[in-house]
Amino acid sequence: MAIPDPLMDGATVLGFLLLVSISAVLFGRYLARVYSGGLSRGPFGKIEAGIYHTIGTEPDQESGWRQYAKDMLLFNGIGFGVLLVILLIQGFLPLNPMGVPGFEFHHALNIAVSFVTNTNWQVYSGETAASYLTQMAGFTVQNFLSAATGISVAIAVMRGITRRTTDRIGNFWVDLTRTVLYVLLPVAFIAALVLASQGVIQNLDPYVETSGGTAGPRLIAMGPVASQEAIKELGTNGGGFFNANAAHPFENPGHLTNLFEIFLILLIPASLPFTFGELSGRRREGIAIFAVMLALFLLAFAGLYAAEWYGNPTLARTGVSGIPMEGKEVRFGLGGTALYAVATTATSCGSVNAMHDSLTPLAGMVPLLLILLGEAVFGGAGSGFYTYLAFIVVAVFIAGLMIGRTPEYLGKKMERREITMAVVVILVPTLLVLLFTAVALLIPAGAQAMLNPGPHGLSELIYAYTSMANNNGSAFAGFDATTPFFTLTGAFVMAVGRFVPAVAMLALAGALAEKKTVPSSPGTLPTATPAFVLWMIFVIVIVGVLTFFPLLTMGPVAEHFRMIGGI
């Protein structure tokens, strides 16, 4: 297994992505039906209506973007409060066979923010610090709700673009309910069964003690893993049940579960462009968006795979053959590792089946870059789509000028307000990363957190804040983020990186909904052409990377040149 077969891996990945694409088209259409109310007349419609009755919302009563944003923030605020309390008092709550105590406050705060923001940056080890109740009622529930929040905002943004001269962009409670009821619950349910059938454990037993053979007695952690695994991937949450995340055999036993989990990670983010195509009545636009995302995904995969394949020439000179396998799982091989690493960082999932820290410098830069691009390549459930739209606004703004018209997208003019909001979405995570890496380096706590010296340590720090600001949640292991400085600044970065762009996008949607739609003509810039697809790739890469060029040079790139230089 240590000698990978690029042809075989390439064929597997292409076949797999074809399957993802076909599923995305179908699932995208299904989503369009869900949000047009097509399923509310079905058998589950009674439950849906019951929920609206209980929370007292009129499903037909839509709101403007401000109300939508308020509802969204209120809902997430409550979710945060509940989770925080569970984390603090889990020691007194049931379903705690191992008797773990409550979390320290600054840890609890960081964890609660991280799960509410769909980041799942874990400053704890699941198996040693969280009770089963925390895992199920705390984490799994937030996995559903944070993903549903992201998808709801994306749907509201789609409405904003497709509607005209109205100030209504939807009802948050309706979108949220439909997402959970018709999308996340059924798919996660089936996925959990599939995973369990393949060996992912699902129990509430105490941990098992084994003799451990020559290594001495061992404690094997147990738990309701399959149910959480399914939604953690589907909702691009990424918080592992165990510390080793999807590298742990109880979370991800083999090749098949590996591919299945990657499929779950990509499913919703890949489907939303097609949903947009359906809802806007312009399927070609949806295809164009998907094409950009897929192209960048393939480029990233090829880059990561090639860098790992190239390996470390210094080691090769010493007679070590094969690719570096430290930190990787032999059962997934290079192909399965590379695909997982790209999928989990292209989307804002952040679950891992290998230690990104152990990748060669340039290969490790790929996941970092994908997160830096701000979730525009598929991205998080919902959040990826709306971030991509912010890039579209910037891209059509410049492109529109180049053809001599006030820029427009799908007939909507892009003016000051739209540009402001799009820039906020793109710039806020960027500024967070730049600001907090600088601050961390200026205080002693920062350098102490790095477990590796030099450029690699810098990469760890950059990766940590990039992951938090873009709500990914994966980490370059080898970085101690448990000190109060990191937990508190991390909580701030995650919250701002999640909610400021979300609210800005809702504001953008509100502004667009109020506009008239300009009929298209030969003078309109077509946005579903190969030329525009290339332009989008250019804009995403340039705007996403330009600001990180120096950091990347002093982190992974410097490390790379030192590696080939044999230092």
């Binding site: 018209r405 600088a438 030099g454 008239k516 009929p519 003078g523 330009l546 410097a558």
Partner: protein, 689 residues
């Protein structure tokens, strides 16, 4: 017609250059620089590096003073070039404004109480005139303010405003009553009611616009500037971040020194979108100036930009699509009459007819008969009258008449003549082809029919074709009947037409189009066009139009040529295109600047990073300096492009986009690699750093 335009102000005239030079220096004042925040930051950077340079001279800096000095010099030059571009574009407008201002000087006016009391005159200064005041202006006197003629008619020289030396008639009532302050009455005396506050006259507004003094940023400019400022903030954050990061790297690597303030400033200035930020004001002002050179005055910058977005053009048929009047194009005899007889009768019947149609018949006939155009002796012209609806001439006892078919038939039948059997077919034939039939008779004999036809302006078809290719719909508006309108519409190649339209219908039409999300442009001159002009997104009034029309419009065409609308659209697009192209260029440039500066700055800390020095620049100092110099030099090099605008091509948006993307996007990535390398080569032979 003799035509005197404004002397073309050349941008490279020594006087203008000198003025722009000193003006650019004055603009270095930080308070004035804050209009352009990106350049303000560059200037602050220049102040910082200058301080480092001075400290270096005093021996308090680790960097060679030659390096910090040169960096400072080029940062100051960057700001200077930016100011120079703006000053130069303003200077051209100012030179034009100066000639306008001469016409605006305060003059005395003869104010009246009532239009009748021409004896009761009070002499006041033109600055004291208020709307509603009545003034009397005699021959040789200058009209003291904008207004309309309420009594009398006069020949007015409007050269001061339009540059057109041929005098025009201004008279009370009708569509030619508007007069502009600063123009001169040549003959006879008129009474004028003032309509504009002093300081807000047409001439004042025009001076403001060409000078760019009251230039407010247009919405698109504001949005673009916002984007540029955001980018700048991001890059500011990048260099601020680079300070601790390089400190950390140097400390852990154990070699090299953290990036100095000079290098960080240089990196920031190179990354910030200085090229577009420097040229942005010039692009807008120069666009206005290009319009002015075509004798078009935009009363708001917003209007020009809106012109770039226009997707529906409402055009009056007469004057815009067709030449003013119908012209004779054919003479068809009836009942076997000889053609010569018909031509002669048509010729004679039109000799006394001063209308353009009549003149065109005479011209047409004399081309066939080759006789001089002169009224025969003893002939008595019979002018057109509303009761008979025919006109003609009596010559040697014979009556030659022409007129609409029914009127001539009535006149012939009254004299006992018969109506030829083939007349009706020929008359309807012409009418159904969109022409106007005029029947000619000699006494009681009907000789034939003249085909009067609308003649398209030359080149109009091609222009409509171009417009369609760039996605602009043309809609023709005419009072003609449906049949005539359809013929002209097909001939001219407009997309749509509205026949038998009343002026009020324009307003409804514009609202309909706007409700569908279109941007509508129209031209107008009459008072009844005013509401539609006020509603249209781009409203072009003819300078010879009425005062209400001129006030409702946001663009005035001094030549009164409605086809100019197309030029306005073109310039509007050019302004946006130039902005987009330079923005793309500016951002694409950053890639090469990173490759120039980063390896140079970091090679001390990580020597292996010299592998990134893909351009093979000679030393770290020359590398950084070359990037800064390129960044500065590109501004003056692109000034001509900013002033002239990116060339407009009537091609579909998708093609145009690909085209500009290759030139400014790809070109923007590649050019600086070459430029920086060349500068480095030159630099390394001159200085030793």
């Amino acid at each position: 017609m003799a035509r005197k335009r404004y002397p073309d102000v050349r941008s490279l005239e020594p006087g203008l250059l000198t003025r722009a030079f000193f003006d650019s220096l004055r603009k270095l004042d930080l308070r004035r620089q804050k209009e352009n925040p990106v350049m303000l930051l560059v200037e602050l950077g220049g102040i910082l590096t200058t301080a480092v340079f001075l400290a270096g001279l005093a021996g308090r800096s680790g960097e060679p003073p030659l390096f910090t000095g040169l960096i400072s010099l080029w940062l100051w030059l960057t700001v200077f070039f930016s100011n120079f571009a703006e000053s130069l574009s303003e200077g051209r407008g100012r030179a034009r404004a100066a000639s306008l201002r001469r016409a605006r000087q305060s003059i005395t006016a003869k104010r009246l109480r009532t239009p009748e009391s021409t004896k009761d005159i009070r002499v006041v200064s033109s600055a004291d005139l208020r709307p509603g005041d009545l003034v009397v202006v005699g021959p040789g006197e200058t009209i003291p303010g904008d207004g309309e003629v309420v009594k009398g008619a006069a020949l007015v020289n409007e050269a001061a405003v339009t540059g057109e030396s041929a005098p025009v008639i201004r008279e009370s009532g009708g569509d030619r009553s508007a007069v502009t302050g600063g123009t001169t009455v040549i003959a006879s005396e008129v009474i004028i009611r003032i309509t504009a506050e002093p300081g807000k006259t047409f001439l004042d507004r025009m001076i403001c616009m060409v000078e760019g003094a009251e230039r407010r940023k247009t919405p698109n400019e504001v949005a673009l500037q916002l984007f540029l400022i955001s980018l700048t903030i991001a890059f500011l954050a990048v260099v601020c971040n680079l300070d601790p990061v390089s400190r950390f790297s140097a400390a852990t690597a154990g070699t090299g020194i953290p990036l100095s303030a000079t290098i960080l400033t240089a990196l920031f200035v190179c990354l910030a979108p200085t090229t577009i930020a420097a040229l942005l004001p010039a692009i807008g002002i120069a666009g206005m100036d290009r319009l002015f050179r075509k004798n078009i005055v935009a009363l708001s910058g917003r209007a020009i930009e809106a012109a770039g977005d226009v997707n529906v053009l409402l055009l009056d048929k007469t004057g815009t699509i067709t030449l003013g009047a119908r012209q004779a194009s054919e003479m068809i005899p009836v009942d076997g009459q000889p053609r010569e007889g018909l031509v002669e009768a048509a010729y004679l019947s039109s000799l006394g007819d001063e209308t353009p149609e009549g003149k065109s018949i005479v011209e047409f006939a004399s081309r066939i008969r080759k006789v001089p155009v002169a009224l025969p002796e003893g002939a008595r012209p019979i002018p057109f009258s509303a009761s008979t609806r025919v006109s003609g001439i009596e010559h040697g006892g014979t009556l030659y008449l022409k007129g609409a078919a029914d009127s001539i038939i009535r006149s012939v039948q009254a004299k006992g003549g018969t109506v030829p059997l083939d007349l009706e077919a020929k008359v309807t034939g012409i009418a159904s082809a969109g022409g106007t039939p005029l029947v000619v008779c000699r006494d009681a004999t009907i000789l034939g029919v003249i085909h009067l036809k609308d003649i398209l302006k030359s080149g109009i078809r091609e222009r409509f074709h171009d417009l369609r290719r760039i996605g602009i719909r043309t809609v023709m508006i005419t009072g003609d009947n449906h049949l005539t309108a359809a013929t002209i519409a097909a001939e001219a190649g407009v997309d749509d037409f509205v026949a038998e339209a009343h002026p009020e219908e324009k307003l409804r039409l514009i609202r309909d189009y706007q409700a569908q999300g279109n941007m509508v442009a129209m031209t107008g001159d009459g008072t009844n066009d005013a509401p539609a002009l006020a509603q249209a997104d781009v409203a072009v009034a003819m300078n010879n139009g009425t005062q209400p029309a001129r006030e409702a419009a946001n663009i005035i065409d001094l030549d009164s040529d409605p086809t100019k609308l197309l030029d306005i659209v073109e310039i509007g697009k050019q302004i946006l295109m130039t902005r987009g192209a330079l923005t793309t260029f500016s951002i694409a440039n950053d890639v090469s600047k990173y490759f120039a500066i980063l390896p140079a700055a970091l090679v001390g800390i990580y020597p292996t990073l010299s592998a990134l020095n893909v351009m093979g620049l000679s030393t770290p100092f020359t590398a950084i300096l070359s990037a800064v110099i390129f960044n500065a030099l590109v501004i003056p090099l692109l000034i001509p492009l900013a002033l002239k605008g990116v060339r407009f091509r009537p091609i579909p948006a998708s093609t145009l986009f690909t085209y500009n993307l290759v030139i400014f996007g790809l070109g923007g990535i590649v050019t600086p690699f070459i430029g920086i390398k060349l500068i480095d080569m030159a630099l390394s032979t001159v200085v030793h750093l």
